[in-house]
């Protein structure tokens, strides 16, 4: 295989959204006749990269080369005519039109100015024959299964574009048999010399079909590797992060000896996370590690009462307590920074000041307003203490960058003087500087004697501040690491071991 036989090259692609850097100078090279898997956790930048390639987003920087010629698709239609076709997880075709109409929509064969239906149907039949599909093309698309619709979408995309095919989670709703059919088609297209980009969460499918793998994390390129040379363990490490330096982790000088304060016994909720036991001391940071969908976030939400536990009980200082709602948890001095800052963290239109005092005000009740002077004092205090970069405290929080929004949410909880703080992905999608400050803050809070639960996809980060690590898999707590065993290596082992068991 010639190494520079690239059909599509993306060079130093940049894309910034208000508050986050979605793509930071990402390179991506696709060869002719290869299946190239694009992997990464949620928010890594996979779909942003795809959308920049297909013109759905305008990139802020970088170049796209198709067959060594620079292209600049302004919308998905232009990308299609250039040769880049995309098939999404949810089929983006018209279910109420016939299969043939879907295949030739916008380019129906014409005769005397009218759509030539018989020619169209004949050609549709021929087109699908290439895909081992012998179906009645005059029936509505909706009358066929998702897998068939998927193939129709691929047929249309390939027929339209014919150079690059992007498959964005095409197998998410297919069964094993259908996946096999899809992969047969993908292999045939590959043999025809198409470059195929395959986005998925299923690692076993990656190993089955792909030739090379590119991993993104936090909007940055982690690396591109030959699938054959990359074992599963290493791949997971690439996806969730493990810098070489972190591998030699110095054992924590002080093991927490604070009093045991929080005890959750057989705590769980059906369909979200299996019952678990958890004990947390004062001055302890418990890290939650696991892949996407392993039950990390579900555990955090359960502890805070965002979802009610349906089994087990919670104790604080030996007394059984009710944590069935956020309000109940807040009464016991709990705080919670949710994973999705935008939908469940910030109150976008309100000012930084109002966002900071909100939880404290909610706990005091509406009849006891915090005086404006006191609000100003609190806001100014935390803006200074956490170095929140804002023009003034009355600026709407939605105008701040992601890292500063996150600090303001942290300030909201610190203002309530919490004793048990749950942070779900506190450093996701924020810039490096703010990242380091939040890590430092977690350390400082632990030293002050708070108990913290931190969920993170960043392994080396968890290693840096956790005094204990819980590893989750399939919505259950499966391993606990403490003391010397807190290393990136051990964590990856624990996640990968269970992952291998699942796929074998």
């Amino acid at each position: 295989m010639q190494t520079n036989d690239h059909i599509l090259q993306a060079i130093r692609i940049e894309k910034t959204f208000p508050g986050t850097k979605a793509l930071d100078k990402v390179d991506f090279h696709l060869r002719r006749g290869e299946v190239h898997a694009l992997l990464g956790e949620n928010g890594a930048g996979k779909s942003t990269l795809i959308k920049c390639l297909t013109g759905a987003y305008r990139r802020d920087g970088g170049a796209i080369l198709l067959n060594d010629a620079e292209v600049d698709p302004r919308d998905t239609f232009e990308a299609q005519t250039l040769g880049i076709g995309t098939v999404y997880q949810e089929v983006n075709l018209l279910a109420n039109l016939t299969v043939a109409e879907n295949l030739f929509l916008g380019r129906q064969p014409r005769r005397f100015g009218m759509v030539d239906v018989s020619t169209m149907n004949r050609r549709a039949q021929e087109l699908l024959a290439d895909y081992e599909l012998d179906i009645d093309v005059t029936r509505d698309l909706a009358s066929y299964s998702v897998a068939i619709q998927q193939v129709v979408a691929i047929a249309r995309a390939v027929d339209l574009s014919g150079k690059v095919l992007i498959l964005d989670e095409p197998t998410a709703s297919l069964d094993a048999h259908e996946v096999a059919m899809l992969f047969r088609i993908v292999r045939r297209l590959k043999a025809r010399g198409l470059g195929i980009i395959f986005v998925t969460h299923f690692l076993e499918q990656v190993y089955e079909i792909s030739d090379r793998i590119t991993v993104l994390r936090n909007g940055q390129l982690v690396g591109t590797r030959e699938t054959a040379d990359l074992d599963r363990r290493e791949l997971i490490a690439m996806m969730i992060g493990r810098e070489l330096a972190a591998e030699i982790h110095a054992p924590r000088a002080e093991t927490p000896d604070g009093p045991l304060r929080y005890r959750f016994r057989n705590y769980g909720r059906k369909g979200r996370v299996r019952p678990f036991d958890l004990e947390v001391r004062a001055g302890e940071v418990v890290g939650m590690a696991g892949l996407l969908g392993s039950g990390r976030t579900e555990t955090a939400e359960l502890l805070f009462g965002a979802h009610r536990a349906d089994s087990g009980e919670a104790e604080i200082d030996g007394r059984v307590v009710d944590l069935s709602s956020p309000r109940a948890a807040i009464r016991h001095r709990f705080g919670f920074c949710p994973e999705d800052r935008k939908t469940s963290g910030i109150i976008g239109d309100l000012s930084v000041r109002e966002n900071i005092v909100l939880a404290l005000q909610a706990r005091r009740g509406w009849t006891r307003p915090i005086a404006r002077a006191e609000q100003n004092r609190l806001a100014d205090h935390y803006i200074r203490a956490l170095d929140i970069r804002t023009a003034d405290r009355e600026k709407p929080i939605k105008l701040l960058s992601g890292g500063n929004q996150q600090k303001a949410i942290l300030a909201r909880w610190l203002a309530t003087e919490p004793e048990f703080l749950i942070l779900d992905e506190p450093t996701r999608g924020i810039d490096v500087g703010a990242h380091a400050e939040i890590v430092k803050l977690i350390e400082a809070l632990r030293e002050k004697g708070l108990s913290l639960i931190v969920v993170s996809s960043e392994i080396e980060e968890l290693v840096a501040y956790s005094t204990r690590i819980i590893v989750l898999r399939d919505r259950a707590h499966v391993a606990e690491l403490d003391g010397n065993r807190i290393t990136a290596h051990q964590i990856v082992e624990a996640i990968a071991a269970t992952n291998e068991r699942r796929t074998s």
């Binding site: 309000r327 939880a359 005000q361 509406w366």
Partner: protein, 341 residues
């Protein structure tokens, strides 16, 4: 404090300008428009008439503002007016005292609000659908109460609410002034205002921050029901009768319009009760103005629509940035804020 007043003034400026233009325009066409006289210790004149006629929409707009601030909407207020008017008429004609009649009627309004609030906050039904139920069913309920007829009454006590006067002002004006100030104080002197805005902007984030979301949502709809009840009493007292078919008809739309003209976004969040009250007065001034100016009545709705489009354009962010030099600069208010410190 001066800076606070200044910010407040800035917020209300577009509404005040719009109202000023309308008043000037009408007084040019109809010279007697600005005249005020005192007869029998009560003010008379077109301006007073606007404040008086506008009372129901002003009251509805107060409740609607709070509901809209929570990112909701209450389509049922017109129907609740009819229910409450019918209730008041039925109570007074069946021999209840004025006080009992008022209490029962207000309770019915609160009950209607409670129904809406529970549908929205507890059953999580979209506000527009949840309140549509009562909007449609409400007139039926009102007709059941009046048994299909227009229930008339002659009780002077109840009629006083519609046509009496206090301190020189018509009773409806006194009622909405006092009620408006009370609600504005309740909302702004406590933390209610901020919590309601937080819910309107991001309900999920508010709940996770410990805001008692369902209770506040229900309270917003209850307030709206209460406002509709007072408006219903005034409307019934004014004509000394309850007309289940026409009382409050389409007023929910006027109330929503008043809130929008007042500059509160239908997407929820920041709200101003004073601005909504001004919005309602603007709408009434347009109605009265067109009537007085002697245009053929068939033009009324079109002229009204044109004026409202004009006001909305005036408020639109694009227009504001394009003509920002006309509005007092932000720097000026900041400077005075600093000076006030």
């Amino acid at each position: 404090m001066t800076s606070f007043l200044r910010l407040y003034f800035n917020r209300l400026l577009p509404q005040l300008i719009a109202l000023g233009i309308i008043i000037v325009a009408v007084s040019l066409v109809f010279p007697g428009f600005l005249n005020l006289q005192i007869q029998n210790g009560r003010l008379y004149g077109s301006l007073i008439d606007i404040l008086n006629r506008g009372a129901p929409v002003v009251l509805l707009a107060i409740g609607m503002t709070v509901v809209i601030a929570t990112k909701g909407i209450d389509l049922s207020v017109g129907a609740v007016m009819a229910i409450c008017g019918a209730t008041a008429a039925a109570c007074i004609t069946s021999g209840h005292s004025v006080a009992a009649t008022l209490l029962i009627t207000l309770a019915v309004g609160i009950l209607c609000g409670l129904w809406n609030g529970v549908l929205v906050a507890v059953l999580d039904i979209q506000p527009i659908i949840a309140t549509l139920v009562l909007m449609v069913a409400g007139r039926g309920i009102a007709q059941l109460i009046t048994e299909g007829a227009i229930l008339t009454f002659n009780d002077p006590g109840l009629a006083f609410i519609g046509s009496g006067s206090f301190a020189g002002l018509p009773m409806p004006v006194v009622i909405w002034l006092v009620f408006g100030v009370l609600i504005a104080m309740l909302v702004r002197r406590t933390a209610l205002g901020m919590l309601i805005e937080a819910i309107g902007v991001n309900r999920q984030a508010s709940t996770l921050s410990g805001v008692l979301t369902p209770v506040l949502l229900i309270a917003a709809y209850v307030l709206s029901g209460l406002c509709a009840a007072i408006a219903g009493i005034i409307a019934a007292a004014d004509i000394r009768g309850a007309d289940a078919n026409n009382a409050g008809l389409w007023l929910e739309l006027d109330a929503i319009l008043a809130v929008v003209v007042g500059g509160t976004s239908l997407l929820g969040g920041r709200f101003s009760i004073a601005a909504s009250v001004l919005g309602a007065i603007i709408i009434q001034a347009i109605n009265t103005g067109i009537l007085l100016s002697g245009f053929p009545p068939e033009f009324n709705l079109i002229i009204k629509a044109a004026i409202i489009v004009f006001i909305l354009v005036l408020q639109s962010p694009r227009f504001r940035t394009a003509f920002s030099f006309l509005v007092p600069a932000r720097g000026a208010s900041k400077a005075s804020e600093r000076a006030a410190k």
